[in-house]
């Protein structure tokens, strides 16, 4: 569905693994979140989307960014960095999804300005908790806005 | 002949002798031999012998007016006497030495 049809709520997911894309979608389904999930499978495409949004005020900006640290071309941290410098999207919440639990990566993500750091778990239940996290962030952002 | 050390006590030296030799010339050798025999036999410890080799010191010959070698010069005791030849005439040698 188009963003306009969804009432304009648009989420941007930057993830190259189709399996993980499915899991994110499944998590949101279970949580009952029927937003438009736009997927970019590499960092460069994601940045292009952000450029488009900044260029065209008629483009509705996403209300949440979920980004995997390890994506091709430009990696997740570059995407976040670009986002934070975006005039129209700079303040939206960011969930960094990563399979790395190294403190260094966590710290880097925090320095970049992500809102949440989600460690890709090896259990279904834990993965599905992502849905709750999304709902919380979108709600607070919308409320704030 | 057993060798006796020549102890030179100046007061006991009575004979001063000088023998002019010509290196290892035969007669020179004989002269040395003969003279020593007499001296040792009768003047042991009382003689002083100087040997002059005129091949070494030709000029010494002029001191004593030496013409023929070997020549024995007796400086002391008594008058200066000389004897030419190989000194094989022992009686004459003894006489010349005042013995």
């Amino acid at each position: 569905m188009k963003p306009e049809e969804m009432g304009g709520i648009r989420l941007l997911l930057v993830e190259d693994s189709p399996a993980d894309v499915y899991l994110v979608q499944e998590a949101m389904r279970r949580e009952g979140l029927h937003f438009c999930l736009e997927v970019a499978d590499n960092g460069e495409t994601a940045i292009q989307i952000l450029n488009r949004v900044d260029a065209d005020t008629k483009e509705p900006p996403p209300v949440l960014l979920m980004v995997d640290l390890n994506v091709p071309r430009k990696d997740g941290s570059e995407v976040v960095n670009r986002l934070r410098h975006s005039p129209r999207c700079g303040t939206i919440p960011v969930i960094m999804i990563s399979s790395s639990d190294s403190p260094r990566d966590r710290r880097r993500a925090i320095d970049l300005g992500v809102t949440e750091y989600f460690l890709k778990p090896s259990g279904l239940a834990e993965f599905m908790s992502l849905g709750k996290m999304v709902r919380r962030l979108v709600t607070s952002f919308s409320t704030a806005a | 002949m057993a060798h006796k050390a020549e102890r030179l006590k100046p007061q006991s030296v009575s004979h001063r002798l000088r023998l002019y030799v010509a290196g290892s010339g035969v007669r020179s050798l004989r002269a040395v031999q003969n003279l020593k025999r007499v001296c040792e036999a009768e003047l042991a410890g009382r003689y002083r012998l100087e040997v002059v080799d005129i091949y070494k010191d030709p000029r010494r010959a002029t001191e004593d007016h030496i013409v023929a070698i070997p020549t024995l010069i007796k400086d002391a005791p008594g008058l200066v006497t000389r004897m030419i030849g190989d000194l094989s005439e022992t009686a004459l040698v003894r006489h010349g030495l005042g013995l």
Binding site: L124 | G23, V32, L49, Y55, V67, I84, G85
Partner: protein, 541 residues
Amino acid sequence: MSEIGPLFTGGASPGAAPSQDNLLERLLQAEETIRAIHFGEVDAVVVNGPNGPQVYTLEGADHPYRVLVEQMHEGTVTLDPSGLILYSNPQFASIMGAAATSLTGSQFAQFLLPSDSSIFAELVEGATLRGHNSGELNLLTPDHNLIPVRVSLTLQNVAGMRNISVLVSDLREQIRNAEIVKEERLSRLILEQAGEAIVVIDPEGAIIRRSESARTLGGNSMLTLPFDQVFHLVAADGPLDCSRILESARAGLRLHGWEVSVRRSDGRVWALMVSTNPLWSESRELLGCVVTLTDITERKRAEDALARQAEELTRSNGDLRQFAYSASHDLREPLRQLVVFGELIHEKFSEKLGAEGAELIQHAVDSAHRMETLVKDLLAYMQAADAPQAMRPTVDANEVMAKTLVTFETQIVETGARIEWDPLPVLGVHEVHLVQLLQNLISNALKYRSEARPYIRIRAEPAGPMWKFNVADNGIGISPDYQAQIFGVFQRLHGGGKYSGTGIGLAICQKIVQRYEGRIWVESEPGRGARFQFTLPGGLL
């Protein structure tokens, strides 16, 4: 002798005023002289020539002999049968350090020690019998020096006299020469046969000696050539020419261990180590310099190869580590997904799968789990014993044990375990390593417990420069057949999932212990518990 007989003349001294008596005297002298000459009683006459007194020898036949005797190098004396010196030549006089004429008339025995007297007497006897004899003895000079000489006796039967002429050779020089020659020969042999290339240069830099080995470096004809012409040595700071060598030699310095390279005419480059040693005479005069050139080409090549190898190893090690880390990471991603999707399938299609289908999926998911654990453990093994940042590792084992108790608190309570330890030493080991080591061992002890309440006791005792730890438990024990095996990577003795774990724990322990050059082993029998022992270096707090 003449019939007239010799006349004794004398009395008048030269220069006395001519008188009757004087004239008579001189006449008699003249007659005597003429008579003696006439009858062949003289050897020579002295004639006043224009250049002073001239001696004319009357027997020409012995003139050459006389010259020989006078001038020869050897000493000679003529002795009468009683040993009286009738004549001594200049050389003998020189040996004795006395005037020849003062020796004439002396007994030869005067110049011999008693021991040599008898030897000489024998020599004389032999010469008298056989005509010749020779031997060696010592001459005692008037100033009490002992001169070793060789004497050669010849019986002379001349004009009725049986004299002995003795040729005297001063052995001192000969002995010295012989020794010098022997030493020279030995030095020459050393130089010739030395394995090193040795070159001796004189103070002008010309090569005066060389060892055989030097020929490989400098060619076959280098003697007398200037050092620089034969060897072109290049040190790190420029050419090493012999002026530098001689300069340091004059300053009394020895060069040692200079690395130079030499390029030969065929283009080959040799790496050499140069050492120099100045040569001094007894009077502190610089005789030259010994230059030793050691071929270190091979050694340098080996050193370079080793250095390169070490570099490569370090690099590849780093690469490997990097690779292992990222590989393990990448390997775990799909495994994780496998597990999650396994669960999803199970959830969504449980009715369609049925019990059997569910079991199949479970096996798949379990395998994925296991694989993930294996990869995780493998990564842990690879990283085990990596040195952390701390420079000097040191840890108090008692503190580590206290922490471990906390770590295993839950299990201790669950199993009712008792863990005790004797006072433990300070070890020269990184804390993380000791933690890992002890935790693995205690974890195993708890895991492989027997029916009885687990009891674990840790002790340590000195073993040379190390400490030997003993972790004893009362668990199920290990058969001797497998005691070596269990330290292997992923080696397990119990399959089927009865005991959890991938079997990496002990492999990690071994790796850690080996890093500190210690050992780890186990003493155990089935049903009798296990005593794990390991050695680690002591440390200072």
